[in-house]
């Protein structure tokens, strides 16, 4: 048992350390970056890592470390907006479907099935084509894409809790439905939603980078990891570090959120059992 406890802490521990590291990096980047992130110095382009430029420079001669620091802002912003949109709207829709049930549930679930069967990246491309590119629009598009999966989790949580004795009892004595939802059901569902939220955060980072890789996500001069990768791709064979720096950063960030969500889930399972 002791051994299992030790292992359980690992996911949470490593995940939290990774995320704290990048959070610190982000906070610092608001006040200080080694170089101006948008300063173009073509004569310094494509330098290898050195003391002056720890992670080298990009094809415009901009400092890669500074840009990576700055792009953690973009990453956390996009992720946060996506998760908030997904959680709020998803819980609302899933809650309604689960709590009311019947034909409303059927219609909503078919719609959600349709959204989930739709290739996500294509829906994102189409939404971006309608509303335009950029940080805000990308976040909105990805937020909408996150709604179905969270709605599903919220729905099943509501259905499970609805049938529990104390909820049935509260209903029977005529407690207002809103009160039941906010006081009895939500507190029980929220831990599952927390896990879903941290997975959605990772998913948002993946999707944003994929969109930016296709040239349709966050746009210059706002730095984003996916877009840096997109720029670096053509120099992959000659200057691999150019692509590796943003690529590894991105992967570590996503890993941090996956480990956090796994860690959280294990804590939850442990608490339940």
């Amino acid at each position: 048992m002791n051994q299992t406890r030790k292992k359980k802490n690992m996911n949470l521990l490593i995940g939290t350390i990774i995320l704290l590291f990048f959070l610190c990096l982000m906070v610092i980047s608001f006040f200080y970056t080694p170089y101006d992130v948008s300063k173009i110095q073509v004569s310094d382009k494509l330098q290898s890592p050195s003391l002056a430029h720890w992670l080298g420079t990009d094809k415009f001669g901009r400092d890669t470390l500074s840009r990576i620091m700055k792009s953690t802002q973009t990453a956390f912003f996009v992720g946060a907006v996506v998760v908030v949109i997904g959680l709020v709207i998803g819980t609302l829709i899933g809650g309604i479907a689960g709590y009311i049930g019947g034909w409303i549930d059927d219609i909503i679930m078919r719609f959600i099935d349709a959204m989930m069967a739709f290739p996500g990246i294509i829906l994102a491309i189409m939404i971006v084509a309608v509303f335009g590119t950029g940080i805000i629009n990308t976040s909105l598009a990805l937020g909408i894409l996150t709604v179905p999966s969270i709605a599903r989790i919220a729905r099943s949580g509501f259905i499970q809790n609805k049938a529990l004795d104390y909820v049935v009892a509260a209903k029977a004595v005529g407690v207002h439905p809103m009160k039941i939802v906010f006081q009895e059901i939500l507190p029980n569902v929220y831990s599952q939603l927390l896990v879903a939220g941290s997975i959605a955060f990772a998913g948002a980072l993946l999707a944003e980078s994929a969109l930016s890789y296709l040239g349709l996500g966050v746009q210059p001069p706002d730095p984003s990891l996916g877009q840096m990768l997109n720029e670096a791709q053509e120099y992959l064979t000659d200057d691999p570090w150019y692509a590796l720096a943003p690529g590894v950063t991105l992967s570590l960030l996503i890993l941090g959120f996956y480990m956090l969500s796994n860690g959280l889930r294990e804590v939850l399972d442990h608490r339940l059992s």
Partner: protein, 314 residues
């Protein structure tokens, strides 16, 4: 059981109708004209006008949509605007590639994740187990296009073993086709290995603690026999159902990966068609992909309810 299946089939059709309507609505507000996009800024305005008329694009979109749906019912997917070809031919031309890619990925997932899962379960909570867990999670965390870039860098540039974009069909050169699909398949498979691995590992651990295993061991069955005859057989049932979900992920994963490796499959066709506003192709492809995914989910659900009769009651 029959009533359940019939009800599910009805819902399946409803889902597809929703998807078709979503696609139509999005195209209704999507800016851009297919002919202008195809011919570019140097196009003669007279030519654009004539071609638009010939293609029936000067009619309102809902009439075009009506024609398309009418065709669907007759089994005709319509004509691509971008490629002046029947949508059906375009899709069938690409199907072998995308299917083989999906299939190869699935094979890789099965043959890597099951042994890994078993090994990890046997040495539960050892450093090896922990490392494997971090490793597989890392595999999930690397965006597929970045993974593709790394593989191209390693195998294409450093070892010169692979040349991206040199896809040859199976019928022309079996080993060539295998070679050109291996890396893309690996790229798709790696994140899914992590998912499947976890199920195998947990399943084996769980079954290993069951009484019947203890009994088998007590009767003097060899370790290998216990594992293959008892533990694995039972722990793979949930894995089998999760493979359905993985297959759905794999189908979606081919879209980006085909782009990274420049493979002429369904995914690349889809992205091209969206950017060229080729409504008939997008409609056909989206319905096709959604159909595959919905059917897989459907089969998984059926499988579940066969394995676990309690689910049918819902």
């Amino acid at each position: 059981m029959l009533a359940y299946i019939i009800r599910r089939l009805g819902l399946l059709i409803l889902t597809l109708v929703f998807i078709s309507i979503i696609t139509f609505l999005v195209f209704q507000i999507l800016p851009g004209d297919p002919v202008q996009t195809m011919l570019g800024p140097d196009a003669d305005p007279i030519r654009i006008k004539t071609l638009r008329h010939q293609l029936g694009l000067d009619q309102p979109l809902y009439i075009q949509y009506g024609h398309l749906i009418e065709g669907f019912i007759r089994g005709d997917l319509g004509q691509s605007i971008r490629f002046s070809m029947p949508v059906r031919d375009l899709i069938f031309d690409r199907l072998p590639l995308t299917l083989s890619l999906a299939f190869m990925s699935l094979i890789i997932v099965i043959f890597v994740s099951i042994p890994l899962g078993v090994i990890a379960a046997r040495r539960e909570n050892s450093w090896g187990d922990l490392l494997l867990s971090i490793f597989t999670q890392f595999g999930m965390a690397i965006p597929s296009f970045f993974m593709g870039m790394i593989l191209i860098l390693l195998f294409g540039s450093v070892f010169s073993l692979f040349s991206p974009g040199s896809y040859v069909p199976w019928s022309e050169d079996f080993w060539g086709a295998l070679g050109s699909l291996l890396l893309p398949a690996l790229t798709i498979a790696i994140p899914q290995i992590a998912v499947s691995y976890r199920y195998v590992r947990n399943g084996v651990i769980e079954q290993g603690q069951m009484d019947y295993v203890r009994t088998a061991r007590g009767k003097g069955a060899s370790e290998w026999k216990t594992l293959s005859h008892h533990i694995l057989r039972n722990s793979l049932i949930p894995v089998l159902t999760i493979l359905g979900l993985i297959l759905a992920e794999v189908v979606a994963g081919t879209i980006v990966v085909e782009q990274v490796f420049s493979l002429p499959g369904i995914g690349q066709l889809l992205i091209t068609s969206v950017s060229y506003r080729d409504f008939p192709v997008v409609q056909g492809l989206v319905l096709y992909i959604a159909f595959v995914i919905v059917v897989i989910n459907f089969l998984v659900d059926i499988l579940y309810s066969v394995l676990d009769p309690r689910i049918r009651l819902k």
